[in-house]
Structure formats: C-alpha cells, structure tokens
Amino acid sequence: MSEPVIEEEAIDEGPHKLPLDAWHRAAGARMVPFAGYEMPIQYEGIIVEHEWTRTNAGLFDVSHMGQLIVSGEGTAEALEALLPGDISALKPGRIRYSLLLNDDGGILDDLMVTNVTVEGEEPTYYIVVNGAVKWDDIGHLREFLPDAITLTHLDDRALLALQGPKAAEALEQVLPGVAEQLSFMQATSTSWNGVEIGIGRSGYTGEDGFELSVPEESVEALAEALCALDQVKPIGLGARDSLRLEAGLPLYGHDLDEKTDPVTADLGFAISKRRREEGGFPGAEKILALREHGPSAKRVGMLITGRMAVREGAPIFAGNAQVGTVTSGGFAPSVGQPIAMGYVEAGHALSGTKLIVEMRGKQIEATVTDMPFVPHRYYRKPKA
C-alpha cells in the first residue's frame, strides 16, 4: 500500500514548531508538515471533527498564518495601491477580505484586513495572510509600501479560530461580553489574564465563529480554557480543509495562485465598487476588462457522482474536450458525497452543467453546482 500523500509545502529549514506543539501532541494529534510548520492534521478523526464543528464549536490552531500590522499616515491609500479593496472606507473595528495582486492582476495571496486604528492615533491595520506564502507577502509589502509606512510581523503572537454554531456561547464563558459586540466581519480587542487579545468574528468554515490573536506565551492557557468547555474540542487541519471546501472558500496555492485573477476566481466581490470605478490597483486594466467582457474560465463547485473522490489536478471534460481542471476535491461529510472545486471554460460553468472528471483512468460524472455546498451560517446582528 502506498503512503497517503499529504500536501506538503516546501520547507527551507525543516518544520518549525507551533507554540501549542506539545499541547497538540498531548491531545492526541497526528502532526504533519504544512506551510513550514508541524501542524495537527487530526485528533480523533477528520469526519468526527468536521461534524463536531458543524454542530458544536471547534478550536483550530492557525498560528502558522502571518499576522501583520501596517501603520502610519496614508496606510489605507498605500494598501489600496496593492489590493483592490476599499480600505479607505473600512471603519475601525471592521474586517474585509482582500487580495494581494501582482501587476498582471494575478493573485499573490488572499487575506483579511482589519482596521484596528485607536481613536486619536495613527491609522493602523491588522492583516492576516496565508502561512505558506507569508514570507513572500512580507517581502512584497516591504518592497512596495512607502518608507513612511511601518510593517510589523507579529511573530510572537499565536492565532486560534473558534468555529461553529456554539462558538459564541463558548466564547462568552471565557471572554464575557465580547461576542454580543460583534457581527460577522467585525473586530475588537479585550484584556484576558493581563494580556491583550484581538478578536474578529470571521473564519474559514462557513459557520459563525471567531479568530483570536493572542501572545504566544498565553495561547496554551487560552486553548485550555476553551477546550475545558463542553462545547469545544480541538480540530485539525484535515477537517479545516473539508469544512472550507463545503463552504466554497478557496485555498491559496490550490484554488488560487499567481496565474489566477480575481474575476476568473469568482472573487469579484473583493473588488469594491469605488475601486472598480477608479481603478488604481495592480492589474486593474486587465481585471476590469475581464469583468466587463467575462473571463474565459471560471472557478466553480461540482457535485461528484458516486463515492470516489476526485482530487487536485484531475482533468475535467465535456465530451472529448478537456475544459478544465480540479483544484480541490474530497469527500464532504456534511453533504454525504464527494465534492470538488475547479476551473472550467466559461461555456461549461453554468450551474447544472454535466461534466466528466477523469480520475485514475475512470470517468466520473460531475455536476456544476452553486457554492457554498453547505449554507453559510454567519452571524449578522439585526440592525438597530
């Protein structure tokens, strides 16, 4: 039997250990190299952890991700030269999904920007980037941000994600009063045991949830406090991947890369209205033309017939002609069948289109489907 292929990223200096490394091992995690770190892929089993997160609350260690602070007068404008988001309009305490673009409009990374400016102080933004490309992102930002803007890598902070329908009631027990302040894509900070914790109501599972930025020396105490609750269990990378795939959320390095533009990737929502009208972001001309005339291919979701999963790299056919490629795929526990994400030519991207995926010499039927595969259950506060 062949060893299962775990997707490993290139590692320069061998895998680094997370601040919670020993805690994961004590909790029974199987550790695998990912994004330059030894990461927990599972504790009890991927399906059990996946279902737990959809019904209770899961705690994910995502400390491999890059946490950055960009600050100084003119930061919003400086970021807008690199991202297509309307950063100027982002109010303090608000989070936005955005894309780091190269001059051809290719996606260097996808990221979350939070305006964390304190009243009366200089503009300050907190950015979370993907672990696998964080060093490239930092290099890119250092090169292209003006000298007057300060970039700080918060490499002494850990990042936890608490996700699931019971995330808010769990958070309430450890950080009382925080959840009720926040709607989806809003952020705040609070003091806990003498340290400052940054909290954003966002995540990567399609469920309600929070991301908690915490000094690394306090992360074990915070993880312990959360996992001591009946609603919370630690969840590994394996379930993180199946959850995000069901939520229709792309994974950088697989569903997105430098050769993909935001329109083809179906991430047009990340290009704010004002930015569409004014341009002025990398690759704007090309991206805006694609928006107007339509891309030649599009990222789509597919339901896979049968039980055999299709995987990244599998070719997609309409008749005898290859019309696309799978970029993510696997068994979806909450759907009960395999699902996939991939790029197909525009003429075959309509929901309901039947296509064929070739996997290990077999022809497998796939049906283009609207995403998400499992409805998002983000929490939005009723308007007062």
Partner: protein, 123 residues
C-alpha cells in the same frame, strides 16, 4: 491458515492456494476515515506488486498493491456500501479481495505477526 504481513502494510491470509488480502490495522489508522474502496475485477489476473485497489480517505487516496500473483476470485461485496469496515475491522470483515495464488513461493519474504509488529514499532 497462515497470515503474512508485508512492508507495504497489507496482510494476506492463506488457506491452501487461496489468499485473502486486506490492509493492516496500522494502515487504516494512518489513513483515517475511509470513504471509498476501489476493488479489482473478479476474474482478473494480477502480478505481485501491481496496484489493484485504491483506498480513499477523506484526505488522500492510497494504492493497494497485491502481495502475490494470481487470479482475483472474489472481492468484498460489503465495501461498496460500508467502506468504513476497513477502519473498524481492517484485518477481519474489512478484507479487500481473494486471490488464487499462482506462485506460493512469493509468500516466503513476508513477515509473521510478531515481525510485523516489530516493523511497525520501528517506523
């Protein structure tokens, strides 16, 4: 009946000239939740080391190589609806296929249970 184990984490239980093949408990544990098992066609002739089956888990797919040459006589009919049998009973009800051995000398290089246990501990 003798049970042999391979370094590729398959087991083969031999009775006369018929072998029953599966993956070991250690292997299923490494793979995690199994969602689909692709089996060879009954009646097909296979050669030792051929990839004849694929075990699909939530995260990855793994080839299963036949430890011996011969003709596949039967595949486990339960696995179509219950692939998770390979997780819960890898070395009993979760067997993959039966094979009529064409060369019993191919078994000579395999490990017995104790040797396999030692092999797994050394990994």
């Amino acid at each position: 009946m003798t049970i042999y184990y391979t370094e590729e984490h398959e087991w083969i239980s031999v009775e006369g000239t018929t072998g029953t093949v599966g993956i070991t408990d250690h292997a299923q544990e490494q793979l995690g939740d199994i969602t689909f098992v692709e089996l060879p066609d009954a009646g097909s002739t296979v050669k030792k080391g051929d990839s004849v089956s694929v075990v699909d888990s939530v995260k990855a797919a793994s080839d299963v190589y036949t430890p011996v040459s011969g003709e596949v006589t039967e595949v486990n009919p339960k696995l179509e609806d219950e692939p998770e049998l390979v997780n819960s009973s890898a070395e009993t009800d979760g067997w993959l296929f039966k094979i009529a051995l064409s060369d019993a000398s191919e078994l000579e290089s395999f490990m017995d249970e104790a040797a396999y246990k030692e092999f797994v501990e050394s990994l």
